[in-house]
Symmetry: C2
């Protein structure tokens, strides 16, 4: 049975789930959510996910939301990307939700997808400070490590990289964070890796 | 063996872990972190948690960070607060980290613990919008339900309430969110429940 993922290319949270499925060789197909025209807040979508968020994963009778929950389901079903200390993996998944992808996605949105005249400069400044502090934590953690936890790529890697391959500018400079930079190269070298805009439908050029 | 929780009363994230232990009858004791004098960013603390965050849980050789990871450990060890659909519980834990406690804590900090002349008004406005939208999701979810997931209190309840008992004003009005209001009363009626300032050392009056 082919799983469906409600998603859109611009969503790093959806990418976390899609990338996990792609690298695990999961049987799945994307279903585009027209986020930029409010589809994720429509009554139809809220009936699937009351949180009004993508991604949503549907496999037969099973519906899952929250990117990390989908990642855990795929990993448990395939036996992949859970090597090592489960608590360490979970700790980085929760960190990513609050301090990593969770904040990066909002910052990138404000700096790229809100009309320029409506961008809240002070909110962007405040959020940037938080995002960069958190990226510093990740960069220091990756010093001397190949992967976020243990000796093999796990869900922790596939979560924390969620927004870090996008080309839109939001202040993230790979070269200034050398351990993150090399770690992103390692993830991108995994068999089956794809860029978010190649893995899911929808990207900014559709709206240009 | 008594577990130690590095925590401080003002932290709703620490409260999530402390409340779970209190209600589960866990053998634990708090260790105060002097957050407001930078203790969580000290070299000593970073050696325990490189993320520079409380809470940190230490039980013999086991050190755990991230409130939800601590909650899961306590729940699994005691067999409590995990009734029902595990994916549903996890989904609300992740939601709380990103959209619930994760944002509420930042907003309450900006509105109460940053000196008045330094408060970033536009950032507060932007964040308030996000926080209130998310609380609306939780309030609608709780309509017709006693607990966040299933028929019994679970970790999902003990996570999502993390910042909702504090007296400091951050725009949260219980009476305007009637389903949350009644749910908070139900949690507070559980045997062993305590207010965060009664469960952990440290509260704003210490610094008055």
């Amino acid at each position: 049975m082919t799983a469906k993922l409600y998603c859109f290319g611009e969503s790093g949270n959806a990418y976390k789930a899609a990338l996990t499925m792609a690298l695990a060789g999961y049987d799945w197909a994307p279903l585009w959510v027209d986020f930029f025209h409010g589809a994720s807040r429509s009554a139809d979508f809220l009936a699937i996910n009351e949180m009004g968020e993508a991604p949503v994963f549907v496999e037969g009778d099973l519906t899952l939301t929250q990117s990390c929950v989908i990642q855990l389901h795929v990993a448990e079903k395939t036996g992949k990307f859970l090597d090592g200390d489960r608590n360490e993996i979970l700790r980085w998944l929760f960190w990513d939700g609050q301090k990593g992808s969770g904040q990066q996605g909002a910052l990138r949105f404000l700096m790229n997808f809100v009309p320029e005249e409506k961008r809240p400069a002070e909110a962007i400044k405040w959020l940037s400070g938080r995002v960069m502090t958190a990226l510093g934590v990740l960069d220091r953690h990756l010093e001397g490590r190949n992967w976020v936890t243990g000796d093999a790529p796990t869900l922790a890697d596939l979560a924390c990289c969620g927004y870090l391959y996008y080309p839109e500018p939001w202040g993230f400079d790979r070269k200034a964070l050398p351990h993150i930079d090399r770690w992103l190269d390692r993830i991108a070298a995994l068999p089956g890796w794809k860029h978010p805009y190649d893995l899911m439908p929808g990207n900014p050029s559709d709206r240009a």
